[in-house]
């Protein structure tokens, strides 16, 4: 590999050709502050507009300061990262940025986790000269079912835009207007709700300030808990336990399943259940559907639609309803685990404890912001009563626990309640990319072949590459599997399905890079992909620790079918656990 030698702050460093000054400096322990730049290295995601001008450095022979994030090293370059000129420029630019930023840190949802706040502190800004005569750029606040846009706090780092367009290919956000009035907004400055937004929340996940945040549903949860007439049931998604510890100062990848259960109980939830149970249920339904389509296909039935696409990710569902409505009969009709849980809780379980669904409130704890929208969809309610009443994110739950003075770090481990709290390792791995399809394969293989799996770990389905494929030997039949995480990667596979070129029998899609562990409701990763990898490792660790690792072996699932549903894909199961999709392609309507 061709290397380049240069001098940074009088130290010589040798780096591969193409390395930026910022990264070269990091090699020798010089941390040049950045603001707009962000990278998820293992996912090949980088935001480099060179717009904030905070990371500028002095390069000998150049007239102007250069952005170290976007300037590549050249042979013999002499770089200085903290001369008086650089420090003055950095401070002045920071003062510019802060002069156009609200000063309501006390009540900002990002306070304490805001990259702008951290940087202002790091640069030692104590006052903003000229603030008294400085006009602020303002823009209307926009609240959608999942996401709040407060553009007064936007610093135009353009990370959200990069995520939305380049990574997710959703195209809901881009810069509009110019100069001081430039903002990032949907086309025609519509509200998010009327844009192509899928609520995947990746814009929120990367926003350095409080410009993009989730809609906070904890007040509604508190109200339900305080209502003595309500039985409040909570379900927790698999990826939450692998990440929430970070918000209590724990190392990324620390599993906090037991503490989370105890905390929820301490908060006053009547039943603490597990979405993993519903994930096992999803496998029963989706796996059966896969086998049904596969068998029909093998018997020459031309109407059997293959590949089957997973349908547990609500951001992904929104995406194909918007961009691929012509393929809406291709995904599995199985509801997502969140919604399966709600449907079972408010029927089977409500009957069991002898209350009506109206007296039950189902709360979900999700790593996801699209779940907030999903539980509000009309088809997931009965007589106006939703199967899942409110969905709160990992971040919201952590804040709630802190508000309630619960000493999370020192909690004893608790156990989920029965019967909807029992799950297998297959349910757990839903939380990371490749997990849903691995869980499905574990069950489908045994049902299809009638043989016991010798090894349940399908490592060929794991990893972080954006699009992956693997072939699993189903007793002589090669089952071709495709996996995509990130909607841009999903689009590639979908285009092949649309054009009939796809050779896959089953495709798993997760909207967020990394899967649910990288969801829009998770603790912020601030561009550190090591955190995502640690969360994925924790998910697989939880799977390994489970005594049962195949969904169809979950005794409570077996009991649920015996007592209530009959068998997978039965009429009752269809009524409660399956859904339909709609053509939601946006039409542009110009309002006067």
């Amino acid at each position: 590999m061709e290397t380049i030698r240069l001098t940074i702050d009088n130290k010589t460093v040798e780096v591969p050709k193409g390395t930026t000054i910022n990264k070269a400096a990091k090699e020798i322990g010089i941390d040049i502050p950045v603001l707009c730049w962000m990278e998820l290295h293992d996912l090949n995601i980088e935001n480099r507009p060179a717009g904030c001008r905070i990371c500028v450095v002095e390069i000998d022979g150049r007239r102007n300061l250069a952005p170290s994030c976007a300037t590549k090293c050249e042979e013999g370059m002499v770089v200085r990262t903290h001369t008086t000129r650089v420090l003055n420029a950095r401070r002045t630019v920071m003062e510019f940025i802060l002069s156009d930023h609200p000063k309501d840190c006390l009540t900002c949802p990002k306070s304490g986790n805001c990259e702008l706040q951290t940087l202002a502190h790091q640069l030692g800004i104590r006052e903003i000269p000229g603030q008294e005569i400085a006009a602020m750029s303002t823009y209307r606040k926009d609240t959608s079912p999942s996401i709040i846009r407060d553009l007064d706090k936007c610093i135009l780092c353009r990370r959200c835009e990069m995520m939305c367009n380049e990574v997710q290919t959703v195209g809901a956000l881009s810069a509009v207007n110019r100069g001081f009035m430039a903002v990032v907004a949907p086309a025609f400055e519509q509200n998010l709700e009327h844009s192509t937004c899928t609520y995947c929340g990746q814009c929120v996940a990367v926003c350095p300030t409080g410009a993009l945040t989730e809609v906070d549903h904890t007040p509604e949860v508190l109200r339900a808990l305080a209502d003595p007439t309500k039985t409040v049931v909570v379900q927790t998604a698999p990826a939450v336990r692998a990440a929430m510890g970070e918000l209590f100062g724990m190392k990324p990848g620390t599993l906090v399943t037991g503490k989370m259960v105890s905390a929820l109980r301490a908060l006053g939830f009547d039943y603490v259940f597990d979405t993993d149970f519903a994930a096992d249920l999803t496998i029963m339904e989706e796996g059966t559907e896969l086998l049904d389509r596969l068998n029909r296909f093998l018997q020459g039935d031309k109407t059997a639609r293959l590949p089957i696409l997973t349908s547990c990710c609500p951001g992904w569902v929104n995406f194909f309803e918007e961009y691929f409505p012509d393929l809406k009969d291709v995904p599995s009709t199985a509801k997502s685990p969140q919604q399966m849980f709600g449907a079972i809780a408010k029927s089977y379980f409500a009957d069991k404890i002898g209350i009506s669904r109206k007296d039950m409130v189902v709360i979900s704890i999700m790593p996801c912001l699209a779940k907030k929208y999903e539980c509000q969809r009309d088809e997931f309610s009965e007589d106006g009563n939703p199967d899942v009443d409110f969905s709160i994110s990992t971040r919201e739950l952590a804040a709630f626990i802190k508000q309630a003075n619960i000493d999370f770090n020192n909690l004893e481990d608790g156990d989920f309640d029965a019967p909807l709290g029992e799950s297998t390792g297959a349910g757990v791995i839903f939380g990371t990319t490749g997990g849903v399809i691995e869980a499905a394969v574990r069950t489908a293989y045994e049902i299809h072949t009638g043989k016991k799996l010798e090894k349940v770990d399908f490592t060929e389905l794991r990893g972080f590459e954006g699009v992956r494929s693997a072939t699993i030997d189903f007793d002589g039949f090669p089952l071709n599997i495709g996996i995509a995480h990130g909607l841009g990667n999903a689009r590639k596979l979908l285009n092949d399905v649309r054009s009939g070129k796809s050779l896959f029998h089953a495709i798993e899609v997760m909207a967020c890079p990394g899967g649910c562990i990288g969801g829009g409701g998770q603790p912020l990763h601030h561009g550190n992909s090591e955190i995502l990898k640690a969360r994925a490792a924790a998910i697989y660790e939880e799977d390994r620790n489970k005594p049962i690792r195949k969904s169809h072996e979950n005794p409570f699932i077996i009991k649920l079918y015996e007592e209530f549903l009959g068998k997978p894909n039965s009429e009752k199961a269809h009524h409660l656990l399956h859904t339909q999709y709609f053509d939601k392609k946006k039409k542009i309507v110009v309002k006067q």
Binding site: P49, G51, R53, I54, S99, D100, I133, G179, F180
Partner: protein, 596 residues
């Protein structure tokens, strides 16, 4: 080609035709028909003569008689007197600022200092007639290149000529071509930057309107030299006449085999398409221009990579400004040393300036590099209007800097202008006199850049806004001496940290006025006075008791009742009530009211 005995050239530039130029053109044609002169006299639209303040302009050839401020009704007299009887219409003849009658362009003192290379055919040929252009050497250079020059030969000639980019940057055109040539690719592009955005500058428009073939030819020569098969002209949609002339010219050039496949039988293919811009100033920056052409938001990106490496659709792209391209054919035909013999040591050839402001002859001029500001203002520009005193000249458009009296004798070229804190820019030249407040001037220019910043980088987006606010603060008399230091620091940081040329130059008007007119700034912040009497908030209307006869006219005209006093007694203005509208001063017949 058949040529008529006589031609009546009617300026078809936007300024003239937006006036009554179109009606003049039509009436002249009607008169020619009425007198059955169609076979002898041809009325044509020509490009801009550069006499924009005197339009509509009509020129009679042969004889080169120039008539100015022609109205449609004058058509009959021009035809009956000049064409039929050979007598000049005295009252319409061109007069210089002193009232002397001029007949031909070369009789005008200002014209003697001029040298027309870029504007060589403007006002001479019919821009809608390719044969007329060919008769004036259009496509001869392309023929010369295709007949026997290698791409590298052409690049060498351009390099040796010393031609530097006229869009503002002043980068060596030959070197730019060489880099684009060296980057090999299956497809390359030649882009003509016709996104002329400097307010008051219209030389590119004039070239496109008056001599579009000169640009098409140069693009083809560039295409041959860098091995590009496709040319794109990025032009602002607000230039409808230029667009129409370009379309006509492209169609005619294709018809004549001068564009398209196998040009002049040489095997070289080159096509040109037009792309429209929405008029954003920042789209004159080449990376922003390219993004705009790609259908993306018109925003600059970090260089490197330069367009020559990765430009339009990721392919090597050479972007040249209209004026730069207009120099190419003469260089090829007359040789590099001819061009290099004109101008100063490091700035060769000529430069077109758009003269504007408090100057007698407003319009387009083309002078050799190295001409002094004094020559431009006093000899070509006819001096300052109303005999006022020269104070400053802003060169380089809104992001240039102000030159003062001490700079009058500096030879104007790229490097000298940069050295004194201004720049060549695209060639706007706005003259200011003693009545102009330099703080207001800086604020005025900054208003434009604040408006035109794309918003991508923080220093330009927010910094310029803060500069403007602080200037506003100062003109209101609320500034302090410390504010001047802060102003300067902000300027330097914005220049030092902005992403593209817009932000890197936008503080220039502030910095150069601060440098050259510091006393004026200080008067605003310490004495709370505006020496030029332009800052409303710092003015006070005052009645000189000795002069006041107590006529009460001022008190009656004052809209807010700020003036009191008995009849036949001196009056008094209450400054707390006064809104500084100036009505009293206008009304007073005794010069009793003054501004302090």
């Amino acid at each position: 080609m058949a040529r008529e005995k006589m031609q009546i050239l009617v300026c078809g530039g936007t300024t003239c035709s937006d006036g009554q130029g179109e009606a003049v053109f039509e009436n002249l044609n009607l008169e020619i028909e009425a007198n059955a002169l169609e076979n002898d006299v041809h009325v044509v639209h020509s490009g801009c003569f550069g006499l924009c303040s005197m339009g509509p302009v009509v020129k009679i050839v042969p004889g080169n008689t120039i008539y100015t401020k022609v109205s449609p009704d004058d058509a009959r007299e021009i035809v009956s007197e000049h064409i039929l009887k050979g007598r000049k219409v005295e009252r319409l003849l061109w007069k210089d600022p002193s009232g002397n009658t001029l007949v031909k362009e070369d009789e005008f003192a200002g014209q003697k200092k001029q040298l027309r290379i870029v504007l060589r055919n403007c006002g001479i040929i019919d821009p809608e007639n390719i044969e007329d252009a060919i008769a004036h050497d259009a496509y001869a250079a392309l023929g010369k290149v295709l007949a026997g020059m290698k791409p590298t030969d052409v690049i060498q000639v351009i390099k040796d000529s010393g031609l530097r980019g006229r869009g503002g940057g002043g980068f060596s055109t030959g070197l730019k071509w060489k880099i684009a040539y060296k980057n090999k690719a299956d497809q390359k592009y030649v882009v003509c930057n016709a996104d002329e955005g400097d307010p008051g500058a219209f030389m590119d428009r004039s070239v496109l309107e008056g001599d579009p073939h000169s640009v098409l030819e140069a693009m083809a020569i560039c295409g041959y030299s860098i091995e590009a098969g496709k040319g794109l002209i990025y032009i602002r949609a607000e230039y409808p006449l230029a667009v129409a002339r370009l379309r006509t010219a492209i169609a005619q050039a294709k018809e004549y085999g001068l564009l398209g496949k196998n040009i002049m039988g040489s095997g070289f293919d080159f096509d040109i398409e037009i792309r429209y811009g929405a008029g954003a100033f920042v789209c004159g920056e080449e990376t922003a221009l390219i993004h705009s052409m790609e259908g993306l938001r018109g925003e600059p990106t970090v260089k490197p990579p330069y367009p020559a490496e990765s430009g339009f659709l990721g392919k090597p792209t050479n972007v040249n400004n209209v004026e730069t391209l207009a120099c190419i054919s003469p260089i090829i035909l007359k040789g590099a040393s001819w061009f290099a013999g004109i101008g100063t040591e490091r700035s060769k050839g000529t430069k077109v300036f758009a003269l504007a402001g408090k100057i007698n002859n407003v319009g387009l001029i083309e002078v050799p590099m190295g001409t002094t500001l004094r020559e431009v203002i006093y000899e070509i520009g006819g001096g300052i209007r109303k005999g006022k005193k020269f104070k400053a000249a802003q060169t380089g458009g809104p992001s240039g800097g102000c030159l003062t009296e001490k700079h009058l004798d500096i030879p104007i070229d790229f490097d000298n202008l940069t050295a004194v804190g201004s720049m060549m820019g695209s060639g706007g030249l706005i003259v200011m006199d003693e009545d102009d407040c330099m703080v207001q001037v800086a604020k005025f220019f900054l208003e434009f850049t604040v408006e035109e910043s794309c918003g991508k980088c923080a220093p330009c987006r927010i910094g310029n806004k803060r500069l403007h606010e602080l200037l506003e603060h100062i003109t209101k008399g609320k500034g302090t001496l410390a504010d001047l230091d802060r102003l300067k620091n902000m300027c330097l940081v914005i220049k030092d940290t902005s992403l593209c040329g817009l932000g890197q130059s936008s503080p220039n008007p502030v910095l150069s006025t601060l440098e050259n007119f510091r006393d004026e700034y200080e008067a605003h912040v310490t004495l709370k006075k505006c020496p030029a009497g332009q800052c409303k908030d710092l003015m006070e209307y005052f009645i000189i008791e000795e002069n006041c006869v107590g006529c009460t006219a001022c008190a009656r005209v004052c809209p807010v009742g700020a003036i009191t006093g008995e009849r036949k007694e001196p009056h008094h203005i209450n400054p707390d009530i006064c809104i500084k509208c100036g009505a009293c001063m206008e009304k007073c017949k005794f010069d009793a009211i003054i501004i302090q």
